[in-house]
Amino acid sequence: MDEKKLAIIATKGTLDWAYPPFILASTAAALGYETQIFFTFYGLQLVKKNLDLKVSSLGNPGMPMPAGMDKWFPVLLQALPGMEGMMTSMMKKKMASKGVASLEELRELCVEAEVKMVACQMTVDLFDMEHGDFIDDLEFGGAASFFEFAGESDICLYI
């Protein structure tokens, strides 16, 4: 069986949107795909040493909330201080109760499975971040380095 290749661009930095890249990458690796994730813009938050990602219902009318809150809870209240933290903690509890892996665990599984992770150097500069802010198993590169891999990939996802 020829080794297939999966290339993912991760652009979002919220807790909920952090799952798809790591779930797909770890699963692809288990299926024998050579896998690479390119983290750019807010996606860089996913490869910080300390993951402190939040979930926000703002701008996301599709997000289900407990006790039917998504039906009656006014959007304006969702913008109040503390709401984001509350929703994040509710989401984390929900995930744990359903046996969904933590992001830290999924990311670690990706590292173990030798998923190659590349961070966008331009974004690192743009937001005045330091290489030391990120996990060790990370390379830094630009758009051309992404295409070097993506150009030969069988599947390419923008998340």
């Binding site: 779930i23 770890s26 699963t27 288990a30 299926l31 024998g32 359903k98 046996g99 969904v100 599984l109």
Partner: protein, 75 residues
């Protein structure tokens, strides 16, 4: 049917049962059989898909008392 190793993935959700299965198979010899127990209903389709794509043989797949069991022979 006899098996060489057992993996209990009960309570775990996608993609963990598949990732644990892959890891367990990695430590086994070719031809050995792994029994996997899972509670994730999605694992029925996923185990089939995993076997098809990795070349490991899904010998048996069943449900008993809300638990799904699989027998997988390592390629």
């Amino acid at each position: 049917m006899a098996f060489d190793q057992e993996l209990d993935a009960s309570g775990l959700n996608c993609p963990l049962p598949i990732l644990r299965t892959k890891k367990a198979l990695g430590k086994m010899e070719s031809g050995q059989v792994l029994r996997v127990i899972a509670t994730d209903p999605g694992s029925i389709k996923d185990m089939e898909a995993f076997a098809k794509q990795t070349g490991n043989e899904l010998i048996e797949s069943g449900e008993e008392g809300g638990k799904y069991t699989f027998l997988m022979r390592k390629a």
